[in-house]
């Protein structure tokens, strides 16, 4: 095996590992926002690693497309998690017993009365 093969293998396998961690978190964590973290974030890193691993083996002109895929993933993932998270919060899908502190709730209460 060449050095390139090793780099590729390490990147692909660690990427896959982070995807598995994400999937495990979806099953294991208690409520919507925490599962959302598990579903979006370790997978972002996992995808980036897999893309990098693939790019190592490709001709440079095809690797550019992978850079784009990674870039758009990085730009869109936070937007989605914020939208879902806010919706989950306002529809009461957040398990309040998991929260150490909720300063948004404190503020909303103070405003109400």
């Amino acid at each position: 095996m060449t050095v390139r093969d090793w780099i590729c293998a390490v990147l692909l396998l660690s990427g896959a590992l982070f995807c598995v961690i994400g999937a495990y978190g979806v099953v294991r964590l208690p409520d919507v926002p925490s599962r959302l973290q598990a579903a979006t974030k370790p997978q972002t890193l996992g995808l980036l690693l897999i893309l990098a691993g693939t790019a190592v083996r490709l001709e440079p002109q095809y690797a550019v497309g992978l850079v784009l895929a990674g870039l758009f993933q990085v730009i869109t993932a936070p937007v989605l998690s914020q939208l879902f998270g806010r919706t989950a919060y306002s529809t009461g899908a957040v398990d309040k017993s998991t929260l150490v502190t909720d300063e948004l709730d404190e503020r909303l209460r103070a405003e109400r009365g």
């Binding site: 982070f18 208690p30 974030k41 972002t44 497309g65 993932a77 937007v79 150490v100």
Partner: protein, 195 residues
């Protein structure tokens, strides 16, 4: 007609060319046509976004984000395995240090990229973020989330914020840290780990 942003045009052509994966005259010409079409039919508000104004600071921000991404992914994985369904979270109010829409938006995107936390709500009028953070088990950890979010904003505003904001942002961050009502640091966190 609105003024077309040349940098946006170049960016769209670049995306087009990379999507095709070939660099020749035909692709570029059609890229320019498509980009013009996009800019004319879907106009964006004109703003001065000096994203490459400080390349070194931008590079340091990028490195920081990548490092943070790896670190928090590992930390989140550890929390999952160790605490599982009893993992604790917190929603922390953090003052926003910028008054420019696209800087606030990109700072909250950078913060939300890290595993385990995201900006749940942006109170634009009062300039407050509500940050959700996973794997927080004490009030002291909430204070750390608060301070980290402020430091991140300092980095983002230094990298591509307006110059007048970038100059004072460090002091304003320290000021905001001083103003927070902190958990008493007597060695024992007020709310300890769940059994």
């Amino acid at each position: 007609m609105r003024r077309l942003s040349p940098s946006l045009l170049v960016w769209l052509v670049l995306v087009w060319v990379s999507l095709w994966g070939t660099l020749d005259v035909t692709t570029v010409v059609f890229g320019v046509l498509v980009a013009l079409g996009v800019l004319v039919f879907f106009p964006l508000p004109v703003h001065r976004w000096n994203i490459f104004g400080h390349p070194l600071r931008l590079a340091s921000l990028t490195l920081y984000v990548v490092w943070d991404l790896v670190l928090s992914a590992v930390r989140l994985a550890w929390d999952e395995f160790r605490h599982g369904s009893s993992v604790k979270a917190a929603i922390v109010a953090v003052p926003v240090l910028s008054d420019v829409d696209h800087v606030i938006a990109s700072a909250s995107n950078v913060l939300s990229l890290g595993p385990g936390r995201f900006v749940l709500q942006i109170d634009r009028a009062n300039r407050i973020w509500y940050v959700y953070a996973l794997g927080v088990r004490s009030r002291l950890a909430c204070d750390k989330i608060h301070d980290d979010a402020l430091d991140l904003q300092v980095r983002v505003i230094h990298a591509f914020g307006a110059p007048d904001e970038a100059r004072t942002v460090r002091e304003r961050a320290e000021e905001a840290k001083r103003r927070r009502a902190r958990a008493v640091d007597d060695g024992t966190p007020r709310e300890t780990e769940a059994p």
